[in-house]
């Protein structure tokens, strides 16, 4: 994943707020970069721009050789469904579908029908083989986030974007989810960008970045 000169501002009738300013980033396969920054610093905006949910005002976002910013809406939707895995803080699961049905839906949205063996394998990879038939309301917070991770991995993405994916979990549960992300990164050679407000979690990545004044800097 390669970002060059990414710029994004929010405009109202009264003011313009620059969120991302001429931002560059290179993220390689098998690498976990943790992104920290103050509230409102633009972390989620950056994730949305990379995922093509928001259009950048300027700059390029290359994923798998394609510039997301040059794609039409439908092309971006296809790229998002096939090349990008996205895990948010919560609300990723359809509440009236079982864990297995939620995972199968992700592949269906990407234009393929998942075999039950593929779905079972994905849930097994995140340690939830015995939760396949559970509805989200019967899953713990950590289990729900691991199902969300299985969904994010369902279409063999190149990039995994995790926006405060463990932000609502207690420390020990968060570590279980993070271990699943680490394992997926290693086994699938994913490029992972993990947004967190926790320095403890950020220390787990191979790189720690801070978003400040619209630009990325290496954090200690």
């Amino acid at each position: 994943m390669r970002l060059r000169g990414v710029t994004k501002a929010y405009r109202t009738t009264r003011e313009t707020t620059s969120v991302l300013r001429d931002l560059d980033l290179d993220l390689h396969r098998g690498e976990i970069a943790c992104l920290v920054g103050a509230s409102g610093s633009g972390k989620s905006t950056l994730i949305s721009v990379i995922a093509g949910l928001l259009r950048a005002d300027a700059g390029s976002v290359f994923i798998g050789g394609q510039d997301v910013t040059e794609l039409s809406d439908s092309q971006r939707a296809h790229l998002r469904a096939t090349k990008i895995g996205l895990v948010l803080q919560s609300g990723n699961l359809v509440p009236f579908l079982t864990a297995a049905e939620n995972v199968a839906l992700a592949t269906r949205l990407a234009g393929t029908e998942a075999t039950s063996a593929h779905v079972a394998s994905l849930l097994d990879q995140v340690g939830l083989a015995d939760r396949a038939d559970h509805l989200p309301r019967r899953l713990s917070g950590g289990e729900a986030q691991r199902v969300a991770l299985a969904i994010a991995l369902a279409n063999e993405p190149d990039v995994l974007l995790a926006d405060e994916a463990v932000g609502q979990l207690d420390s020990s549960t968060a570590k279980v989810v993070l271990r699943s992300i680490e394992r997926a990164c290693e086994e699938r050679e994913l490029a992972v960008l993990l947004v967190t407000h926790s320095d403890e979690i950020a220390a787990l990545g191979s790189r720690k970045l801070r978003l400040r004044d619209g630009q990325l800097e290496t954090a200690s």
């Binding site: 949305s48 949910l53 939707a77 609300g91 699961l93 359809v94 009236f96 839906l105 269906r108």
Partner: protein
């Protein structure tokens, strides 16, 4: 506000279903011991009617709604949707029924964050095995006054707009029963009133059976009937109103 629709907004399959719950009991094991969430609840909900389930926090409202909608299995008792005993169904047909016969609206809208508004609605139709029909989806979103937002993503909408999209998703496949669990619990008074108003209009227009859990007496007063729970038991049943 007008809702001038000459025809059914969604692809209507059949009228709303009768829901009959008999002697429902629900027990949970917790570290502190057994909790009786429901204890001997029997209710009958008429086809095409609207019913509010009310009561204090923790009285079993959401548990009851979950059991009526096939999201939970009771420890004891029976739930019938017309002649089908859903509480005794194997997992697979019950899962199928959840996708086809029911529409759900929750306090959290649970929209898929990386799908547009239109896609979120279309997905529900696909899940229910209903033909893809962008024009139908647009009419429904129009009826809910979010027709111009079809290309947007959920995080680009206000809370009230998101919940109206969630209502569209719950109705698009022509469900026989719509179950709403505190659908306005996260909204301000104005947005809340709009969501409830539109939900009720579409319920009447489409002839679904509507069951809504609410803590808001004003919302409950708009329904045909009210079921009040206290400590997992039926305290009061009012209605149906004429």
């Amino acid at each position: 506000m007008t809702l001038a629709l000459q025809h059914s907004t969604v692809q209507r399959r059949s009228r709303g279903a009768r829901v009959l719950a008999t002697d429902l009991r629900m027990e949970y094991q917790t570290p502190a011991g057994r909790v009786d969430a429901l204890d001997g609840v029997t209710i009958e909900i008429s086809p095409e009617s609207s019913t509010a389930i009310v009561g204090p926090s923790g009285c079993g409202k959401s548990t009851l709604l979950g059991i009526l909608g096939g999201l939970e299995l009771p420890t004891r008792g029976e739930v019938r949707i017309d002649d089908r005993v859903i509480s005794a169904m194997p997992d697979r047909p019950r899962a199928q029924l959840r996708r086809t016969a029911f529409g759900y609206v929750f306090q959290e809208d649970n929209l898929q964050p990386f799908l547009t508004v239109s896609e979120n609605v279309a997905v529900q139709a696909v899940l229910a095995g209903v033909a893809d029909d962008p024009e139908r989806d647009r009419r429904l979103l129009d009826a809910l006054e979010v027709g111009s937002l079809g290309h947007r993503f959920p995080d680009q909408l206000s809370g009230g707009q998101r919940q109206r999209v969630a209502v569209a998703r719950a109705l698009v496949h022509g469900p026989r029963v719509v179950l709403a669990d505190e659908p306005t619990g996260s909204l301000d008074a104005e947005s809340s009133a709009k969501v409830v108003d539109l939900l009720l209009r579409l319920h009447k227009q489409e002839g679904t059976t509507l069951v809504i859990v609410t803590h808001d007496p004003a919302v409950a007063a708009l329904m045909d009937a009210t079921v009040q729970l206290r400590d997992g038991r039926l305290a009061v049943v009012q209605g149906p109103r004429a």
